[in-house]
Symmetry: C2
């Protein structure tokens, strides 16, 4: 059977102050009524059994996720006691699913991405599930680039694997500089690394054994299933002992025979404020104005208020965001530095 594994940890700090630890990005409604994590679940609902999905989130968010993701039983929403990046979370999900179903196929999806065309998305997932079964390979979705983005890693596709629309991965490329990114677009055959993975749980666990034996070893201590009496203690011990590593770095970049399904369904990871301008429509001057915001003599700005009035005059390429607690002002082209603000405020507030 096919199982959804939703990665719903983290909080999207580069979207501060709209996102905060208490109100993380995956619980925001950026495109409509539902939250990003709710959208993620709905999008996959026809392909998997939602009550059998697993959601990996942070311990502090578990309660909120249980409310938000009603179709999923509380015990299948796993609150990670510590943040240890993606490999341990995916490894744990793989072990739990393999124990339930020796033929389990996992569809691993980040909870905080935006997707424009849900039908194309589902078609790509079905193709990838087929490939993961037939080829017993690790499969990832590659997004056809629409701009020379320097904020994403790229996947270089090679020859067809023999299945229509599925290719061998030639290499994973780190986030490039602009010149390199432009080269990728010109050359063709390069795709954004979406962080969406499809594979048999047992195939992944075998690869884990080879590439991240320490993670595999830590996993040996997990013998209960979610909902079993001893599970929470095992969870704490696993996260205490396991090293934090990303599945990209720890597995995908090193594994052999990885496959990619090139896709084109209007994907955005909404990683930072400029992405918000991509998903919220702008005015004729390129200003994205949302909430009680007044923008005069300005261009290419984001002005967003969810509490009180924001007034911006004579600015260009600037992000202005106001929430009940804070106001952010930063040039769009330095939007990644919101992390530095978050870090500085954390230090200042002594936490």
């Amino acid at each position: 059977m096919t199982y959804a594994v939703i990665l719903a940890g983290g909080w999207g700090e580069r979207l501060w102050p709209m996102s905060t630890r208490a109100r993380p990005k995956q619980l925001l409604s950026l495109t409509g009524e539902s939250t990003l994590v709710g959208d993620t679940l709905l999008r996959i609902a026809t392909l998997v059994s939602l009550p059998d999905a697993l959601v990996m989130t942070s311990g502090t968010l578990k309660g909120r996720m249980v409310e938000e993701l009603a179709p999923i039983p509380a015990h299948r929403i796993i609150g990670e006691p510590q943040a240890k990046n993606t490999a341990p979370a995916i490894a744990l999900a793989a072990k739990l699913l393999a124990a339930e179903d020796s033929d389990a196929i996992m569809v691993v999806l980040p909870a905080d991405h935006v997707i424009g065309d849900d039908d194309s998305f589902r078609a790509a997932i079905e193709l990838a599930v087929g490939a993961a079964e037939t080829k017993r390979a690790l499969v990832t979705l590659g997004i056809r680039p629409t701009r020379p983005e320097t904020g994403y890693g790229y996947i270089r596709a090679g020859s067809s694997c023999g299945l229509d629309g599925v290719f061998e991965v030639e290499s994973f490329e780190e986030k490039p500089d602009l010149e390199r990114a432009e080269g990728y677009i010109e050359a063709g055959g390069y795709f954004w690394n979406s962080g969406m993975f499809i594979w048999r749980a047992d195939v992944f666990l075998a690869e884990l054994e080879r590439r991240l034996p320490d993670v595999a070893a830590a996993l040996a201590g997990v013998s209960c299933g979610p909902g079993d009496a001893g599970f929470d203690d095992e969870l704490v011990r696993f996260y205490e002992s396991v090293e934090g590593v990303s599945v990209d770095y720890g597995i995908m970049e090193k594994a052999d025979g990885v496959l990619v399904v090139p896709t084109d369904f209007g994907w955005d990871d909404v990683g930072a404020w400029p992405a918000v301008a991509r998903i919220w429509p702008g005015d004729d001057d390129g200003n994205t104005v949302r909430g009680d915001a007044l923008v005069m003599d300005s261009s290419d700005c984001i002005a967003y208020s969810e509490s009180g009035t924001v007034a911006v005059l004579g600015m260009s390429g600037v992000v202005v965001v106001r929430t009940a607690d804070a106001t952010l002002v930063i040039p769009k082209d330095r939007a990644g530095d919101v992390r530095r603000i978050v870090a500085a405020l954390r230090t200042r507030n002594g936490k």
Copy 2:
């Protein structure tokens, strides 16, 4: 006797959102514990009898002023039913004081200016009072310019009037462009028009008769004194009928024999946000940071919060102000355009 006449109308819209109609600039504490209007009163307290002062304010602010200016009896705090600029307010004060004291000398002071050296200020006022008595002239204080400010009118001083430190006014000059302002500084003998006036009430009323006969005629309907039973009705009728005109344009620029006392006591009218940076100390990068504000990789900015956190990164020469109700973001060199924001918000909010 010498009487203080405090002009405490208006609300300082170019300091929005720190100042608002409900919390006008003259009731803000910009330099210390007291409000600007409170400072204005204290500064003059040794030179006049405070209980005999007159305060001209807007009707909606009268209650607040009565609280703030405890030494002044409520009936001497006059709430103008309509805003009609400075000439009608000063004319009314002149008429009321002349009726009480035929030798009354008025010291007319805006309520929302900042003065660095109170002793020099008082010395200048005493000099001006002496000149107003001896010469029976309209006297104004001129501020020695410290920069080629284009936001103020200038007074060109001529020959000595025969009293030490008091000069005939050669001309009043409109707000100049930068080149002209630089020329004034180079030439010397030009002073900023401070809006502070000293004269005998009867001398002013005679000049009013000549220069603004319509205002003088409207004033004829005022026969009661402040505190008399019929005064409020006369006040309403006076403000209904009188034209709005400034004392600078209506009287000073046209009158003969105007005198100026050049002064140098660290004056600032705090007219707009850049002035706030002059009176609040800045850091090594020229940033003025006040309240819960974090400023990184920025220079020459004002970051002020009185409610919630303000975070500014990678900006230069920008004003960022956050209050409980609003956030303003505007380049320092366009700070005068805050008026346009205020007007646009008023239109939008339908008032």
